[in-house]
């Protein structure tokens, strides 16, 4: 009996937790730099604009294979960034307004195309686009813990997880390899230019990385909740430390924790309360991430609202 439960866990719950954590981890790493550069809403905009790219790729190729979708989404992201710059420049508008025009329009186009092509019998629909399909990931093959690493079982890993692992792996590699460049260009673009690091191109690279992670995570958690992954873990970590390296490590840990905890809560909390069914896992991951951020904003030892107010806070402020 317990073997059956374990096999179920490994088939149904483990892949969902893996996908959720990998998505959260990849997004959080990129998000650290977005937050420090005050570009958090680029994650918002990009997670919306990839939709038409993905739908177009689907309509053109007829499949939901990873590569064409990734390419379509990246193309859409590039078009969006170009359009935002163009409108901002021509209309003499603030970036926020230009972004609002572009991403709502592109998202609306994506939804319309999606609805019009819905009859063609593929499992790409508006709800999955909005809040993902973590629960639909199945890893057919593993029967117990020891079987997880067997090649024939690993070959059964869902494509989404393989892609997420690849993307998150390359994000980690990029952050490690270009840590110095990213750090300097984030805090002092002029210094980076003076030192010979092209801060403008590093910025473009960051936008591209945001796009790639958003697309990879999109299938698992949907377009809106990607934003929670981009922002909440790094924001939580930022409340806790001033050191960038520490902030990145912390945000990674927080992201994985949110992924695992959120999924477990969504899958098993209803049973604790005696109701049937489960809750939406991607949404729960966002809620857990938000709760952790709230705790940090309130009770962080140095920058938390509690520490900042009252006697202790005033002492600490006077010291700095």
């Amino acid at each position: 009996m317990s073997d059956v439960i374990l096999a179920d866990f490994l088939t149904i719950d483990l892949p969902a937790m893996l996908a959720g954590s990998l998505a959260a981890l990849g997004c959080a790493l990129v998000g650290n730099f977005l937050i420090l550069r005050r570009q958090a809403l680029i994650g918002d905009a990009i997670s919306h604009v990839v939709l038409p790219g993905i739908v177009l790729a689907f309509i053109v190729t007829g499949t939901i294979a990873a590569l064409p979708m990734m390419l379509g989404a990246l193309a859409a992201a590039v078009v969006a960034v170009g359009l935002i710059e163009l409108i901002r420049h021509l209309g003499r508008l603030e970036t926020g307004a230009a972004m609002g025009v572009v991403f709502t329009t592109m998202f609306a186009g994506g939804v319309l195309m999606l609805e019009r092509s819905a009859g063609r019998g593929a499992h790409l629909d508006v709800q999955h686009a909005l809040y993902g399909s973590l629960e639909a990931l199945l890893w057919l093959g593993p029967t117990d813990w020891a079987s997880l690493l067997r090649p024939e079982v690993l070959a059964e890993l869902p494509d989404e997880i393989v892609m997420l692992a690849a993307v998150t792996g390359s994000i980690i590699a990029t952050v490690v390899l270009f840590y110095k460049e990213l750090k300097i260009s984030t805090f002092d673009a002029a210094l980076a230019d003076a030192l010979g690091y092209p801060s403008k191109w590093i910025g473009v690279g960051l936008v591209l990385a945001t796009g790639i992670t958003a697309v990879a995570a999109f299938q698992a958690v949907g377009s809106i909740l990607v934003i929670a992954m981009f922002i909440c873990p790094p924001a939580t970590a930022r409340m806790l430390t001033d050191n960038l390296a520490r902030q990145i490590w912390l945000s990674g840990g927080i992201a994985v924790l949110a992924g695992v905890l959120g999924y477990l809560l969504a899958a098993f909390a209803p049973q604790l309360f005696g109701t049937v069914g489960s809750l939406n896992a991607a949404g729960m991951i966002a809620v857990v991430a938000g709760l952790m951020q709230t705790l940090a904003m309130l009770f962080a030892p140095r920058y938390g609202a509690v520490a900042q107010s009252g006697f202790v806070g005033s002492l600490k402020r006077s010291k700095t």
């Binding site: 937050i35 005050r38 570009q39 958090a40 809403l41 918002d44 919306h48 409108i87 021509l90 209309g91 003499r92 508008l93 603030e94 926020g96 307004a97 230009a98 972004m99 609002g100 025009v101 709502t104 329009t105 998202f107 609306a108 186009g109 939804v111 319309l112 609805e115 019009r116 009859g119 508006v126 909005l130 809106i224 909740l225 934003i227 929670a228 981009f230 922002i231 909440c232 924001a235 930022r238 409340m239 969504a266 209803p270 109701t275 049937v276 069914g277 489960s278 809750l279 939406n280 991607a282 949404g283 729960m284 966002a286 809620v287 991430a289 938000g290 951020q293 904003m297 920058y303 609202a305």
Partner: protein, 396 residues
């Protein structure tokens, strides 16, 4: 389909559809009018946090009305819930911005995604209930007028009308704050209260419009029409009015279009209609449009080229072939490239004009930098005759 669309646009689609379409138009007007002010106050993207934050409220409203009345789809309960959590979203965004080290962009992103996540969790809980009627909740995400009841349509039309009237009533206050908040404060306007009223009207219009446009796209209603209006006018009053008209047209057309065929989500059509108007304005608006800008630029380049060519002609310097061809066409040069009598006179005039401009720059550098057309337009067109005479008199 075309026949039906025309019927629908002419409000011949039956009472319910007509009510929905008119309600949508009112909604668009309200969103456009209040959106114009929030755009000027640089609060455009706060609407994104507000609209996403309404989702848990809608779900809670559903659960509450299910518990109280046995039916989850009581429109005003859902709207009340939306108002409540939307308001909470505003407070949370402002608190994070003002009381932590996180910036506004991170605050907006946090609130919109976490509240939305909570809403999705609640929706997935509602899906497992055996009450029926949950299907209607999906409409709040992307907007749908298809299954709208008469009472819902009345609520939307009425709520939008209230927002429009309230905004019009506070036009003077809003305008004062948008122009110069510090100045308004110094004059004794209660700026914080006016800001609060503005934010509340924004929240109200977003909550009212959820069902029609959907919470993901409704932010477009408070951004695109005002941005479009900006292209046509620099005056606040005109911009607010135009923005209201653009919003009304977008919603009216989008709602009618989506009623004309199945699988046409209302929210997308409304936004795409608004985006079409935006694109036309971007291209064709007289002052700021792309075409007007291009024409101005081309004229300026031509004038500059002509003037440079004439100055070079006067100095006897060589000029680029393109400028030469143009001067031949204008009769300044004869076909062999030698200056005509008319051309020599033109070149002399240009040279003299340039001399006066140079004197003006030397005597009045600040004014010379401020003037439009320094060295490119004839000085007599820009300066008054007295000024020109004064410049002529120098060194004589």
């Amino acid at each position: 389909m075309d026949r039906t669309l025309i019927d629908l646009l002419l409000l011949q689609g039956g009472f319910n559809t007509t009510l929905v379409t008119v309600g949508a138009a009112l909604l668009g007007a309200g969103a456009g009018v209040i959106g114009a002010f929030t755009l000027l106050r640089r609060q455009a993207l706060i609407s994104d946090a507000i609209s996403h934050a309404t989702l848990p409220g809608v779900a809670l409203g559903f659960l509450a009305s299910l518990a109280l009345f046995g039916d989850g789809r009581i429109a005003w309960m859902l709207m009340l819930g939306a108002l409540a959590t939307g308001g909470l979203g505003i407070l949370a965004t402002q608190w994070i911005r003002d009381h932590t080290r996180l910036r506004e962009d991170a605050a907006i992103g946090t609130v919109l995604s976490v509240f939305f996540g909570l809403g999705i969790v609640l929706l997935s809980h509602i899906q497992t209930l055996k009450s029926g009627g949950q299907a209607g909740l999906e409409a709040f995400l992307l907007g749908s007028t298809a299954a709208m009841t008469t009472s819902e349509a009345w609520l939307i039309a009425g709520g939008s009308a209230v927002v429009v009237l309230a905004t019009l009533a506070m036009l003077k206050e809003f305008a004062a704050v948008c122009f110069d908040a510090d100045h308004a404060r110094a004059l004794g306007w209660p700026v914080a209260k006016i800001d609060l009223a503005m934010t509340f009207l924004l929240l109200a219009v977003l909550s009212v419009g959820l069902k029609t446009v959907g919470l993901i796209l409704i932010i477009a209603l408070v951004i695109i029409p005002p941005v479009t209006a900006r292209f046509w006018t620099e005056r606040l009053g005109k911009m607010v009015a135009l923005s209201g008209v653009f919003g009304a047209v977008a919603c009216y057309f989008g709602a009618a279009l989506s009623a004309s065929a199945p699988a046409l989500p209302t929210g997308s059509l409304v936004v795409l209609t608004a985006a079409a108007m935006f694109s036309v304005s971007l291209l064709l608006a007289p002052a700021r449009g792309l075409v007007a800008h291009g024409i101005r630029l081309t004229r300026f380049r031509r004038r500059l080229m002509l003037r440079q060519a004439l100055l070079r002609l006067d100095q006897g310097e060589p000029m680029v072939p393109r400028a030469m061809r143009r001067l031949i066409r204008l009769g300044v040069l004869d076909p062999e490239g030698a200056p005509t009598a008319f051309g020599r006179a033109m070149a002399r005039d240009a040279s003299h004009d340039h001399l006066l401009w140079t004197r003006y720059l030397a005597r009045h550098p600040d004014e010379a930098f401020a003037v439009t057309g320094w060295g490119t337009r004839p000085i007599t067109e820009v300066l008054s005759p007295d000024q020109v005479d004064a410049l002529e008199a120098i060194d004589q």
